[in-house]
């Protein structure tokens, strides 16, 4: 493969430009503030670029998203080994961002960030990316029943974490209340 005009590079760059916003959102949702999401995306994209000839670039969105999810989870596994007790990070927000953001959304986001990594990744892929359970299972190297369990538990944990807030603000009757 001589350098010059490699059509894969062009396809690759176009795909990154097209999906960059969603990739960054996925990375953010999974790593929270435990790592820079830009670094996650950058690393994932570079890894993919190194092996670009192995993949079919006609539908690059799925490939890129899968790479970002895996890189984010890899980074979190690595970080956990180094940073003990970093299980409940708080999002540091600028005052302006806090003012502008809907409080409920902010609380939900905070609750999501406290979920176990795989729960969070599965939930993002399910609700934000609208992937099927089978696709999520393939992305996360897990079985479909495992993915269903993760998503189910993630939803219930978020509800439990926000039960007080919901009751106080009458946002919706929590289960069993």
């Amino acid at each position: 493969m001589a350098g010059g005009s490699d059509p894969t590079i062009e396809l690759f760059e176009r795909a990154v430009a097209q999906h960059s916003r969603r990739l960054l959102a996925i990375a953010r949702a999974i790593v929270g503030n435990r790592a820079a999401p830009e670094d996650v995306v950058q690393q994932a994209v570079t890894n993919l670029f190194q092996h670009r000839h192995r993949y079919d670039w006609r539908e690059p969105g799925g490939l890129l998203k899968r790479a970002v999810v895996n890189e984010a989870l890899r980074l979190l596994r690595h970080a956990r080994m180094q940073v003990v007790g970093d299980e409940h990070p708080d999002r540091d927000q600028t005052p302006l961002a806090s003012m502008m953001e809907n409080e409920t959304v902010a609380r939900v986001r905070e609750a999501i960030s406290r979920l176990p990594d795989h729960f969070r990744a599965a939930l993002v892929l399910c609700e934000y990316e609208n992937l099927s359970y089978a696709e999520i299972a393939a992305t996360l190297n897990a079985s479909v029943p495992q993915v269903k369990t993760w998503i189910f538990r993630a939803r219930r944990q978020i509800e439990r974490m926000l039960r007080d807030y919901v009751e106080k603000n009458k946002l919706g009757a929590p289960r069993g209340a």
């Binding site: 760059e13 430009a17 960059s20 949702a29 995306v41 570079t46 986001r109 609700e127 934000y128």
Partner: protein
């Protein structure tokens, strides 16, 4: 009355679009008659909408997106540049080594001939003589197939001026194009080189070039210049 985990899972799967046709029909019928179930579905739907909004709120703005693309482009560029010099370096090294090897081989060959004391000017002029049958002593120095059909093997002859050099027609099966082999040996009979050519003219050219090289080396040496091959 609260719902069981199984019922909640069913509602989750309904919202995720994972129910089979039969499950879907069953659930929709139940939703019409079961108020608890339908209000729970509304609640789950609401929560889901908030979560999707939370995820969407993580999307970067245009500026951030541009910055990310810039980062990625930079990383890819770096990656490509990092790959390029490795190849470039390898090529330069390979070229250098090839040149050194070529000079050494040439010097060695010239020096070897010179030390062999092959004397006298002159050039290769002819190379053929009568033919004998395969298996005769004329086969010495030639690479022939041992069990082939009878081959025509013309005898070799020493070439004037080069001492132990000869051009020998190579034995080839009948009907095949001819080949000629130049064999150069030093004064003690040690083989210096053996090259095969398709035509007699090419073989002569090679032998003449070799001879000229040897003469050049003689001249250089008489002028006090030492060649690499002299030390071998």
């Amino acid at each position: 009355m609260s719902l069981s985990d199984h019922e909640l899972e069913l509602l989750d799967r309904y919202l995720d679009g994972d129910l089979s046709e039969a499950e879907l029909v069953g659930l929709e019928a139940r939703l019409k008659s079961d108020v608890t179930m339908s209000s729970e579905l509304s609640r789950l739907r609401e929560w889901r909408a908030v979560r999707v909004e939370a995820f969407a709120s993580l999307e970067p703005g245009e500026l951030e997106s541009q910055r990310l693309q810039w980062y990625v482009r930079g990383a890819l560029q770096q990656h490509r540049q990092a790959a390029r010099p490795v190849l470039g370096r390898a090529t330069v090294w390979m070229r250098g080594l090839t040149r050194v090897a070529a000079v050494l081989v040439l010097g060695f060959a010239v020096g070897y001939i010179y030390r062999g004391g092959v004397a006298g000017p002159g050039a290769v002029t002819e190379a053929t003589s009568g033919a004998t049958v395969a298996g005769s002593p004329a086969r010495r120095g030639l690479d022939l197939t041992a069990d082939g059909p009878p081959l025509l093997v013309p005898d070799s002859r020493h070439i004037a001026g080069i001492g132990a050099g000869s051009i020998t027609p190579v034995a080839v099966p009948l009907g095949q194009p001819p080949a000629f082999e130049v064999t150069l040996t030093d004064a003690s009979g040690k083989l210096i080189t053996r090259q095969r050519f398709a035509t007699l003219a090419e073989a002569q050219q090679f032998a003449n070039d070799f001879h000229r090289l040897r003469q050049k080396q003689l001249q250089l040496r008489s002028g006090g210049v030492r060649l690499i091959g002299d030390d071998f």
